[in-house]
């Protein structure tokens, strides 16, 4: 078997010949996100076009490049020139790109997002100089969208397995010490110092120890772990192997959502390749250290992302969090053996820390939260997608610079961070720096990294209801405060949204939220009420409007709104009447139309259909009174 230097040499040759060869390289983002936007069709289109027109180029399928709003994304690098990134590529565009840029020399600037890498391309701005990309720092995402995740040589040529090779020359304590010095905090959301966890794993007594990677990413709207696994699976494996060496474990498990089939395939492939190269299996890189990794597809319960429920689930038991006081997972985890459990991004960070050193890692971020944070930026924002930023950046910079501001010129109302367990923060807190402690103080959490931007058309009571709907379903049901508390909170919120809120409901919501927080067994219950508490804390007036005035200020809650046609604006075009699904609109052509409030189901189609030049339909809250039905007396 080759030694590591030889393996590296071979990998670099392959990578260099691709990068500095004589033919262009076409990198297409074909992670799950790209695929759902049609990336595989784009790959096929390139293949067909090129063979038809006799154009030569390497097509490389890479992982997630980041900006979801621009999917499918294609990066084309012509020899000696900067890489041009094409956005929202369609099959028709492929034909044009092949004709104009691959065959000719016109990069078609109107199709591009920008350029990056060495050299310049005329008329195309440098992506990294744009406000959307400038603040970003791709560390965990270092290889995503750059390398072919199914090719281990691509990874090795980009510093891959260097950390492992280096770690194996260090003592276990030295590896742990480096992790501690880096200040890396668990990227699963809790933010527990990773080095201290590794230290506990090393110090735990036992012949059998395990390393477990938590890839049970379940928060609605969070997909960064999937992106890392699909785009750079070896970085996760390498981190786990280093961890195994550091704590003295010989077996690793990756608990990954079964709903991530591509991620699982990528991991299977990567494990196989790592075996072939001698990074997994017996006597890794010729040392006494042996380690293997198994994949365990999760069964679909959100609560199995909780460490103790996760290990029970691997054991084949019902995934319910263990009740405190209990031993730490590092003392008694999987099969009651010492277990080191970290998130995908935590493991993926470890190789960089070992290769480049703790000081390099800690050189960005804040004192207590080092390195970068990854967010799935979504909602009412212009540029949605996965972003990686140094810790300490403010919410304002993320939303207005990277995100390009609120979509459709709307007005910012709130940002929700941390998934269903997080909180909604108002405009006054936009200058809050992103780190574990600041977000906690504001009533939210870093969590898994979901970040949903909301505009003034969002009803905050409805938002709280939406998130409680999720936690209520996903509660494991074992402890009373979570099982019945989330249900009660949800029932009250549903009532408020339906105009059935009672005086005292706000106080009861706060009281119950505090009890659910203080009384629940695990993190799911303890944080479940965060969306309720923060929306009441920052948007109490909306709750009061719903309850006292039966008014939804954002005009979202259907039972509290009415649509009305303005007499002075209606031109009698009949468009609204034709599109009303319940025939609630009446009126002759060229005459003012009227909505029967008794029949209207508040779908809003009339408002959508009414031509802009008339804008004759308005939405009102509170509701208009429904005229009593005329009763006709039937005389027999």
């Amino acid at each position: 078997m080759m030694n590591f230097t030889e393996i590296q040499e071979q990998a670099r040759q392959e990578w260099d010949s691709l990068q500095s060869g004589s033919v262009p390289v076409i990198a297409v983002g074909t992670a799950t996100c790209g695929r759902s936007a049609g990336a595989l069709g784009v790959v096929q289109a390139f293949e067909e076009e090129m063979s038809e027109k006799g154009v030569e180029a390497h097509i490389v399928e890479v992982g997630c490049i980041g900006p979801c709003y621009a999917e499918p994304l294609v990066n084309i690098t012509k020899p000696g020139r900067a890489t041009v990134a094409y956005k929202n590529v369609t099959k028709k565009m492929v034909t044009e790109i092949v004709d104009n840029y691959l065959k000719g020399d016109d990069p078609l600037p109107h199709y591009t997002l920008g350029s990056f890498g060495e050299g310049t391309v005329e008329n195309i701005p440098r992506i990294l100089d744009t406000p959307s990309f400038k603040p970003q720092e791709r560390r965990v995402f270092r290889n995503c969208g750059v390398i072919d995740p199914t090719n281990i040589n691509h990874y090795i040529a980009n510093e891959g397995y260097n950390g492992l090779s280096k770690a194996l020359t260090m003592t276990q304590s030295e590896v742990v010490e480096e992790m501690k010095k880096s200040g890396l905090r668990g990227r699963g959301g809790g933010g527990f110092p990773a080095g201290r966890k590794w230290e506990a794993g090393l110090n735990a007594e036992g012949d059998q120890k395990y390393v477990v990677c938590n890839a049970d990413e379940g928060d609605p709207g969070a997909f960064m772990d999937r992106a890392v696994i699909e785009g750079d699976p070896h970085s996760v494996l390498e981190g786990m192997i280093i961890a195994g060496y550091a704590i003295g474990a010989d077996t690793g498990y990756i608990y990954v959502r079964a709903e991530y089939p591509l991620a699982i395939r990528r991991l299977e492939r990567a494990i196989e390749q790592a075996h072939e190269k001698g990074f997994l299996g017996n006597n890794i890189l010729g040392t006494d250290f042996s380690f293997d990794i198994n994949i365990f597809p999760g069964a679909g319960a959100f609560v199995c992302g909780e460490s103790t429920a996760l290990t029970l689930s691997i054991e084949g038991k019902r995934g319910m969090p263990r009740v405190a006081p209990r031993p730490r997972t590092t003392e008694q985890g999987l099969y009651d053996k010492p277990t080191l459990l970290n998130n995908v991004k935590t493991f993926s960070s470890a190789p960089m820390i070992i290769t480049r050193g703790a000081e390099w890692f800690a050189s960005i971020g804040t004192e207590k939260s080092t390195g970068t944070a990854i967010f799935a930026l979504t909602g009412k924002v212009n540029n949605c997608g996965l972003i990686e930023v140094p810790m300490g950046i403010t919410l304002r910079e993320i939303i207005y610079d990277i995100g390009g501001g609120v979509a459709d010129g709307g007005r910012f109302k709130a940002v929700q961070t941390g998934g269903p367990s997080g909180g909604c923060l108002p405009e006054s807190l936009l200058d809050t720096p992103i780190d574990y402690d600041s977000l906690d103080e504001a009533g939210s959490i870093m969590g898994s990294g979901g970040m949903v931007v909301m505009d003034e058309k969002t009803c905050m009571v409805d938002v709280a209801r939406y998130f409680l709907d999720f936690t209520e379903i996903e509660s494991c049901g074992q402890c009373v405060p979570c099982r019945l508390g989330t249900k009660q909170l949800l029932d009250i919120l549903k009532d408020i949204c339906a105009g059935k809120g009672k005086k005292g409901d706000i106080d009861l919501l706060i009281e119950l939220s505090q009890s659910v927080h203080g009384g629940s067994v695990c993190g799911l219950g303890q944080t479940a009420a965060n969306p309720v508490l923060t929306t009441i804390r920052y948007f109490r007036d909306e709750f009061e409007a719903h309850i006292n005035d039966k008014c939804c200020p954002a005009k979202v809650c259907k039972p509290l709104i009415s649509f009305r046609i303005l007499e002075d604006k209606c031109a009698g075009c009949t468009l609204c009447a034709k599109s009303c699904p319940v025939n609630a609109i009446s009126g002759e052509k060229k005459e003012v139309h009227v909505i029967d409030q008794g029949l209207c189901v508040q779908c809003g189609v009339c408002m959508e259909k009414c031509p802009k030049k008339f804008s004759a339909v308005e939405c009102l809250s509170p509701k208009l009174p429904v005229a009593p039905k005329e009763t006709t007396e039937v005389v027999a």
């Binding site: 405190a324 494991c476 049901g477 074992q478 009660q488 203080g518």
Partner: protein, 345 residues
């Protein structure tokens, strides 16, 4: 085990290392409300009603919290009161209000904690009431399973697992749909349940309740007559009728446990067809006789049947001592080794 002292609400309480705070409190006669705890079972910490504050800063569950010397516990801290009150109110808001017709009325742990916490109608009216309407599982001949009353404390599940090793039931579904279920949610009579009723007697509400139970007017200590184990029972008697059986917790043989026969098979006692005297067949029909008459007849017939034409089959329902006597009688008096036992099938 070394002795420790802890303070609960200002009172110094002695305890032994290894005890939980709840156990220490109970041993000193202090009541900390709880629902999912049972002295025979490992603590689960699920109902969260036994919540306390430890050393003035940490909320903890007293049934799982090990005692430590010098520990200071508060059961009346405002935060504790709030969590406990909300938790009990939530349970009551989701519980059928059929107390007067409920088997557990007066002996219901939910009533007890609700009373202790101080639930008022006014407070309860703030909640959205939601009671399940799952059909009652009446498949078992001895007890009914009413999921609508179940508070999911899990005592039945742990009893079946830790004490009986049967594991006929477990949690199924999740969130508010969570339910105690048999495998594949079959009726309990079609599960591997052995109907021992150990879960029934431990159910803190009446989700599991014996069929047709009557409150006894007095209790009579006795020994179960079904087998040679000799479990201690407390027969519940009303008038001249046995209306219930409970295991005798003080009996060293069974420490309160019983099997399906001992616990539920008592109705033969007052059955009209029960034999109360020996019967002797005279002229082809069985006629009632006195014990002297019957024993004389047996002695006479045995005397004529000594040797290998005689065989004795002993019963598993009698004691070891009685079985010893039968084999002695068979060998020494009847002069044969033809002796066997019904349990050796």
């Amino acid at each position: 085990m070394s002795k420790v002292t802890l303070t609960i609400d200002g009172l110094q309480i002695p305890a032994k290392e290894g005890m939980t705070v709840l156990e220490a409190a109970q041993a000193s006669g202090l009541y900390i409300p709880n629902l999912c705890n049972h002295p025979d079972l490992k603590p689960a910490g699920l109902c969260r009603v036994c919540v306390v504050k430890m050393d003035d800063w940490k909320i903890a569950i007293s049934c799982k919290l090990p005692v430590k010397d010098g520990m200071v516990i508060s059961t009346e801290d405002p935060e504790v009161q709030q969590i406990r009150k909300s938790t009990v109110e939530l349970l009551v808001a989701n519980h059928p209000m059929t107390c007067l017709t409920c088997e557990a009325d007066g002996d219901c742990e939910l009533q007890r904690v609700a009373h202790y916490v101080g639930i008022t109608q006014e407070n309860l009216n703030r909640y959205r009431r939601s009671v399940r309407s799952i059909p009652i599982d009446r498949s078992n001949p001895f007890f009914d399973f009413d999921h609508n009353k179940c508070i999911l404390c899990g005592i039945c599940v742990r009893t079946c697992d830790e004490l009986q090793n049967i594991n006929a039931i477990d949690y199924a579904q999740r969130g508010v749909d969570s339910i105690i279920s048999t495998l594949a949610n079959k009726p309990i009579a079609e599960s591997r349940c052995e109907s021992c009723g150990e879960c029934v007697i431990r159910c803190p509400v009446a989700a599991l309740a014996p069929k047709g139970a009557q409150e006894p007017m007095r209790e009579v200590k006795s020994i179960c007559s079904y087998c040679g184990v000799g479990c201690g029972v407390m027969l519940g008697v009303r008038g001249q009728k046995v209306v219930s059986v409970e295991g005798d917790r003080d009996n060293p043989v069974n420490k309160g446990s019983l099997c399906v026969k001992g616990r539920f098979g008592y109705r033969f006692i007052n059955h009209p067809e029960r034999l109360k005297t020996p019967l002797i067949k005279k002229n082809g029909t069985l006629e009632e006789a006195s014990w002297d008459e019957a024993l004389d007849l047996i002695a006479e017939k045995f005397s004529n049947s000594k040797g290998d034409k005689f065989a004795a089959l002993a019963s598993a329902r009698i004691t070891n001592e009685d079985n010893y006597l039968i084999q002695k009688f068979t060998r020494a008096v009847m002069g044969t080794n033809n002796i066997d036992h019904c349990a050796r099938l």
